[in-house]
Symmetry: C2
Subunit: 434 residues, 2 copies
């Protein structure tokens, strides 16, 4: 039997407790899969007195990272602390002292990935991050390894479980955003401060990690256009359903080999397709490659044990040596895809859903159609329900689905439509997925 | 740059041509991903004069396996010949002469896996077989690596694209089996002799491979209970839809840690779930683990380029050394899970769909319910449409869904029901997925 693999966990919140549970309570399974014992030697926390979900052996809990990094028994540092300041310093210190790094921290990789990957490469160490995107779904391995023969042309994902839980509840129960968010918080599906989830930032961080793997391109999360879910009105969800769609928060990236378009946005997805049928807190990622075609991966995208499953897979991969070979093959510290540029969002082609609140008088639809046509955009379908008999001259809702158009031209047409005397409120629009 | 990796393909049919296409026409991509050139040196075929889908460089095509195995430049033998006689000999000869083996041949692994894996282990070589199950979906890597921290409790899959294409057409267009099969043959989705596909054998072979990985258990495909799709009547598909289900050919295996139940059977799957929404020739595999929960993998399960994508992923994994480490960790040649037994199909718990053709007279439903109750089985729902007014006393159809019962007790009850004077034809039944 080979030497034990010594592990130091940084952070022991929900995911850290799950990892400790697997390593301590399923030690025999870990040894069998890893080919050697996996030894949880240290757990570094800020407040050792805090109540935790797992029981650690005496002497494991510590607040002293330097002492831990001075211990020659530690082979792997598992960063589960979150944030990008202390976590960045700790990750770089772990690599500098010759440890391999496992991290579930998408924000860290999205912001400081190039620096961290280069530091690892320089020291001949590996970084494994299966848990950073889509929790228990092994999407990092699938893109890096299972689809390695492919040129990938697009990645589309439901990457934030909180948003998907809220949108599913709004769609299936007709409730509004504020009430659903409050319920999600009560059930533990949303944080007390849900900003990074609901504004699309978390999904943008994960998309930045996927784009680096799929296209070999380092994108700053600040360069990813994003719209969150807080503005989504119940009426748009109802109209989407009437048209045969559901609204999902999608993170999407497309490469044409020269430029990459990418965004996070509420998007209409046709009912009956796998992304549309991904419900509640589940995540799903659709990857399109030139050989494999469309492949879809779905499962629990967050939570204690699903995320711990991914962290432990990385630990086992490091124990067997696979993670080191995978990291070398991923070449994440290189910028050899430097010729790829981010495509301006105005250039991105899409169909659009548009809801207008308009005056109930003749000629309004003709005016809207004309203003769209001036930008070369044609309408694929329209819904306009009759106004109530007893309220003539009031506002009515006009919903249109366009054919494919450049986003910039659609926005230009909408700016003119919004200026019309017939239009009572700025139009609401969302892209429609292929 | 490291030495080139020398490849010999055995067989150059559809998948072989796809592999040759990727290796020859995307050589720069292969070199980048593999970290070294991948050199297609030989393609062994029976009939070199046959028309093929790819253009090979001069001197590559040969009929002489011995000569190829005598070439020290050959590092990897890729078996795509199919069948289990010549393919077995060739695979063993490749391993005996020190080559790593890639194979897409599920029948070979299901029948002779233990022998082939042991031979590889003995020679210190690796066997990679991502393409043997579910084509372009990287399910082998997902189970072996991405979910390595989990105890897997079940694997459920749509593993045969031909059957799924036929069932989708029957469900969505109401056509019957014979007509749909003929159409599938015309479109190239079914072989001229579709027996191994439609009788469930192909799915059973793939299930045997998955069970070995997921549970560490060697199962002979002959020990896998199977029912094919040829007997499925259009009327059962319609009643399933009326009940909120679709009929899919599922390959399923469940482990309780002591025994494994497994079968291939047409199964009612609830509409709106990912397996039910897997259409046409697509495959899907759902894996349930104790940490990750339910994960689902779907995509093109067959065809030239999707299967070639998986073969090339294996070649790249061998070039980087990952496949060797994965094979060692899989321990497929061991029989350390020897304590696991195959659970008798009579012991398997399931709900059931039952369609009876019965006399249209009072008391029939009571009799059926009583005979089921004698085996402890209760009815969850019933459909019986009124008989036409102008044809009293004729047969009517009675459809029942049961609550969960042991398969053996359900079969016993059905045997008694079939003997009733009120029952005009033997009852038709299918299990219902959870």
């Amino acid at each position: 039997m080979a030497e034990p693999l010594g592990i130091a966990l940084l952070g022991c919140g929900t995911v850290g407790s799950g990892v400790a549970h697997l390593l301590l309570n399923h030690a025999e399974r870990m040894t069998r899969r890893a080919g050697r014992p996996v030894w949880l030697k240290h757990v570094v926390v800020r407040d050792p007195a805090k109540q935790r979900d797992c029981e650690l052996p005496p002497g494991v809990l510590t607040t002293d990272l330097d002492k831990v990094l001075g211990d020659p028994d530690v082979d792997v540092v598992v960063e589960l602390a979150g944030g990008t300041t202390w976590a960045r310093q700790a990750a770089l210190a772990a690599l500098a002292t010759g440890r391999d790094l496992v991290t579930a921290n998408k924000a860290l990789l999205a912001r400081h990935g190039t620096e961290i990957f280069a530091a690892a490469h320089q020291r001949g160490r590996a970084v494994a991050f299966e848990a950073a995107v889509a929790g228990g779904i092994p999407i990092i391995g699938a893109i890096s390894q299972g689809l390695a023969g492919n040129q990938i042309s697009s990645v589309q994902g439901i990457l934030n479980g909180t948003c998907n839980f809220i949108l599913t509840a709004m769609t299936e129960r007709g409730s509004d955003y504020a009430g659903t968010l409050a319920e999600a918080q009560r059930l533990g599906y949303a944080e007390a401060d849900p900003t990074l989830d609901v504004d699309g930032s978390d999904a943008a961080h994960k998309l930045a990690v996927l784009v680096r793997l799929a296209f070999g391109m380092a994108v700053s999360p600040d360069d990813i256009d994003r719209r969150g879910i807080a503005e989504i009105a119940a009426i748009d969800i109802r109209y989407a359903v009437e048209l045969g769609y559901v609204i999902k928060l999608l993170a999407e990236a497309w490469s044409d080999g020269e430029s990459v378009a990418l965004h996070v946005s509420p998007t209409l997805v046709r009912k009956g397709t796998p992304l549309a049928e991904t419900r509640d807190a589940f995540n799903a990622v659709k990857v399109t490659g030139d050989a494999a075609g469309e492949t879809l991966f779905s499962g629990a995208g967050a939570g204690m044990m699903p995320t711990a499953s991914a962290v432990v897979a990385d630990i086992i991969d490091l124990a067997t040596g696979r993670a080191q070979l995978m990291f070398a093959a991923q070449r994440l510290w290189q910028t050899d895809a430097g010729q790829l540029t981010v495509r301006r969002s105005d250039e991105v082609l899409s169909r659009f859903y548009l809801r207008l609140t308009v005056a109930d008088r003749p000629g309004v639809l003709a005016e809207v159609a004309t203003l769209l046509a001036m930008e070369g955009i044609s309408i694929a379908s329209v819904i306009q329900h009759e106004a109530p008999e007893d309220a003539p001259g009031q506002s009515v809702v006009l919903v249109a689905m366009t054919h494919t158009a450049k986003t910039g031209r659609f926005r230009a047409a909408l700016a003119r439509i919004n200026q019309s005397d017939n239009v009572r409120e700025p139009g609401v629009y969302y892209p429609v997925a292929d």
